[in-house]
Amino acid sequence: MSDLFNVAIVLLAGLTQASLQLSFGALILLYHASIGKHSRNKTRFLAKSYIIGSGVISFLMVGTIAFILSTIFDGKIDATVTIMILVGILLASSVVMWKFYFRKGAKTQLWLPRSFANYISKRARGTNDVIEAFSLGTLSSFAEMPISLALYVVAAYGILQMSGFWQVIALISYALLSVMPLLVLKVRLKTGRNVVEVQRWRVSNKNFLKHFSCFSFITLAATILSFWVL
């Protein structure tokens, strides 16, 4: 199969990861708390560190899983069975995104246990230096792991199918795509929007975000079924 198809699958997995909302929400909280407490420059550095933390986890997870797959399974996994399991997990994730990801009501509260969500909120509001911001970025990526792990596996397997040059491009592209919403938020806030406007947009377009995420999972499942199994 050509490298380009695999790159497309990896990018689609990255786009699906970008549709997850926890990192975005934590960054909004960090921005809101930081703009009130620190200078603009410091807020920018904190946001940058947060985004780098989030992207680094995506990069490392995909790289690590690719390494594990290539050493334990010697680059090949039993394609039909394992990929069918992945397809099943992706389809289940699409149902989770549809029904359970967002809690009900005019808010963007997520599926997380309330105590953990409050902990992340508290950390976001109490972030005062770049190390904390970086750690918060990594924490928010880890917190999404129950949903994003399948995406990492898909991306890792796709990367293993490519030649060396494309592997590096795909890995970096995945990490960048996964933090694209955070970068867009940073640009929007820089160009004059405030966090309340962004949050109002999220609440009023909650259904769109939900559907986009759900259909991304379904599309990814269908794509890997078509290209890797059939």
């Binding site: 909280l29 009130g36 407490k37 963007t108 997520l110 909120s121």
Partner: protein
């Protein structure tokens, strides 16, 4: 009736929180001070004849008092725990 405040209620803490919320939206500090002062005074007046109030009651009252002054701060105050 004598004013009785729950031991957790702190006018200055609420004022600080309103100012912090507004500062997070990039609003000028002098204006925020005024908004916070007006809001906390209104909340104090509201509490004065209540035997017991909960934290949620106070929060709702603050949002109600903030809404006509600045809708964005009221929104931020109301939704601080509804983002993730």
């Amino acid at each position: 009736m004598e004013e009785v405040f729950d031991y957790n209620y702190s006018r200055s803490d609420i004022k600080k929180e309103i100012i912090r919320s507004g500062a997070g939206l990039g609003l000028p500090s002098g204006w925020l001070e005024q908004i916070a002062e007006i809001t906390t005074k209104a909340v104090d007046d509201w509490i004065a004849d209540k035997a017991t109030v909960t934290e949620d009651d106070i929060r709702r009252r603050i949002v109600m008092e903030l809404e006509p002054l600045n809708a964005d701060i009221a929104y931020a105050f109301d939704n601080y725990d509804k983002i993730i």
